[in-house]
């Protein structure tokens, strides 16, 4: 399986990365190199093996269904590139 320039563009779009032409060109062989290397996992017989989901056995906890946070709007907005009227502001979405 080999990654093409078209694949790189598709993945970059999924990952929301506006890669430049030079980066795309560089990434095609790099990704192929890395993916070719990880494909050695195909040698391993994993029939009947469950994928690992928790590295250390641990029960997921439930907490009481009560508000335990909040009332910190200004702190939440304090690092926003553009905060307006108590909201995060972004470029117009609907024309």
């Amino acid at each position: 399986m080999s990654v093409t320039e078209k694949d790189v563009l598709h993945v970059a779009k999924l990952a929301r990365l506006a890669l430049g032409d030079a980066e795309i060109e560089r990434m095609v062989p790099e990704l192929n190199n890395i993916l070719g290397w990880v494909e050695q996992l195909g040698e391993v017989n994993t029939d009947g093996v469950e994928p690992l989901t928790a590295v250390i056995d641990n029960q997921l906890r439930l907490r009481d269904d009560v508000v335990n946070d909040g009332d910190c709007r200004d702190a939440v907005l304090s690092n926003a590139p553009d905060a307006q009227h108590g909201f995060f502001a972004v470029p117009k979405v609907i024309e």
Partner: protein, 493 residues
């Protein structure tokens, strides 16, 4: 009194308590050393005033008999720990200027235990790297040089490169690091210091910038095993804010230290003798085996059959988790925002991420997005998670035959800056001995073993069973006592 900054954390704690020097003198000594060592690029932000405020509180506490476990001790904090009101950028341009309105659980615990903060430590961007060269702030320069008369700048390792260089150069008596696939242990080995990654879940991940959540663990780095034990006791513990935090009491690791290994079995995995590793690495490993025998341990050969698949497994799982975790950097809530002229919201996301992430981070986001994308998920991600089960099983089987595992920490000594940056796979191989324990969530530690022929430190690596940090620390102590490693980088900065 002189050179307080060259003392171990234990010496500083005990000397401060005995009234030999004040906390303010300690903090001032480190603040001065940090300013004089800016050429190493170990710190991204210096916070001398914060260190002095904590020092004055410690001096007052000593006067009133109110000492806390880390009173008088100033620490360096890796840049990916959220520290309230102080830049926390994970070595990335996309978080440049980010000042968290909250404190990470781990750094908060250390401060609550009386520790001060000297500053934030440089690191590979989002902890993705093994040489600290992917940092947006530029590489950290190791205090160590080869003894070949050349003047080549060496890497302190990564991703906790600033942390390692700071301890090694006397710019902090102890620091926080994080380890996803060797990022505490490899830099510790490269700089002749100790560092431990505890069992996954011991340290809360809350407030630590996420790289690969199923692997990320914080841990201490310091000059000695005892120093590490002291710090670890004050970093770990249950935190309801992290769903994977282990709800267990914190052991008294310092009080439990003992280098008597009688009755302990140490496993030597044959798969870690790999081709192309310098003889000196295997020689130091052999010496480590002798030291553990001398401490009373019985050495047994073991097999971890899936070792060779650990790195490729890691380089599917870690990028996959990273691509998900790093989706949050979109220019909306914090950090950098790039808005192309006339661009819509989607264009803002893509331009922000393109401008804010460095080359290695983009590479891993691309790999991660690819292996999780429709049609490839089973072939890559699911396959890797199954192999991870087998790797975990290898360790489970091994720990039926032994209590601990000894290996080298890294397959080489520190290398020169720019030597491996053009070849991602060569860089990834640095963590060949460190990654399996990460995939299995096990506690693991690097301690200095000796110097190679070029005068550079080499580390020995101890892996313990789940929750057996004490066993790891004790074997580390046994090696430390026998290696007699006192070498320090000669000051040139």
């Amino acid at each position: 009194m002189g050179d307080l900054n060259l003392k171990t954390l234990t010496e500083l704690r005990d000397g401060f308590r005995a009234g030999e020097f004040s906390a303010r003198e300690i903090a001032t000594s480190f603040n001065d050393a940090i300013v004089a060592a800016r050429s190493l690029n170990a710190y991204t932000i210096e916070t001398p005033d914060a260190a002095l405020v904590a020092a004055d509180a410690a001096d007052a506490a000593r006067a009133s008999g109110d000492l806390k476990p880390l009173s008088g001790i100033p620490l360096g904090i890796k840049d990916l720990f959220a520290t309230e009101g102080v830049d926390s950028t994970s070595g990335s341009n996309i978080l440049r200027g980010f000042k968290p309105p909250y404190e990470s659980t781990v750094s908060g615990k250390l401060k609550a235990a009386g520790a001060g903060m000297l500053g934030k430590l440089n690191m590979d961007e989002f902890a993705m790297g093994s040489s600290n060269e992917t940092s947006a702030y530029g590489p950290v320069i190791s205090p160590w040089k080869r003894n070949d008369g050349g003047n080549a700048a060496l890497t302190p390792g990564g991703s906790s490169g600033g942390s390692a260089a700071a301890v090694s150069a006397g710019l902090a008596p102890g620091v926080t690091g994080t380890d996803t696939g060797g990022s505490i242990r490899q830099p510790a080995a490269f700089t002749g210091i100790s560092g431990i990654k505890p069992t996954y879940g011991r340290c809360s991940r809350w407030g630590i910038v996420a790289f690969a959540s199923s692997l990320d663990q914080a841990g201490p780095m310091a000059r000695t095993v005892r120093d590490c034990a002291i710090l670890l006791e004050n970093m770990t513990g249950f935190d309801p804010k992290d769903a994977t935090s282990l709800d267990l009491p914190v052991p008294q690791w310092e009080a439990g230290l003992s280098s008597d290994l009688k009755g302990k079995k140490v496993g030597i995995p044959k798969e870690y003798r790999i081709d192309g590793v310098p003889d000196e690495i295997n020689a130091i490993w052999d010496r480590g085996i002798e030291w553990l025998k001398d401490a009373g341990a019985e050495v047994v050969p073991i097999s971890l059959p899936h070792t060779k698949y650990a790195l490729p497994t890691y380089y599917i799982i870690a990028p996959a988790e990273a691509s998900s975790n790093l989706a949050r950097y979109d220019g909306v809530r914090y950090g950098l925002r790039e808005t192309p002229e006339g661009g819509n919201l989607d264009a803002m996301y893509s331009a922000t991420r393109e401008a804010g992430f460095g080359a290695e981070v983009k590479r891993r986001i691309m790999i991660g997005t690819y292996v999780l994308s429709a049609g490839f998920y089973d072939a890559y991600f699911n396959k890797a998670q199954k192999v991870r089960t087998l790797i975990k099983r290898d360790f489970r089987d091994a720990f039926r035959q032994c209590d601990l595992i000894l290996t080298p920490t890294a397959p080489s000594a520190a290398f020169g800056l720019n030597e491996k940056m053009s070849d991602p796979l060569a860089m990834y191989l640095n963590d060949v001995f460190a990654v399996p324990a990460s995939l299995a969530g096990l506690p693991a530690m690097s301690v200095p073993g000796g110097l190679d022929g070029q005068g550079l430190p080499l580390g020995l690596h101890l892996i313990g069973n789940e929750l057996d940090e004490q066993g790891v620390l004790n074997a580390g102590l046994a090696i430390e006592e026998r290696a007699g490693f006192t070498a320090r980088a000669e000051k040139w900065w």
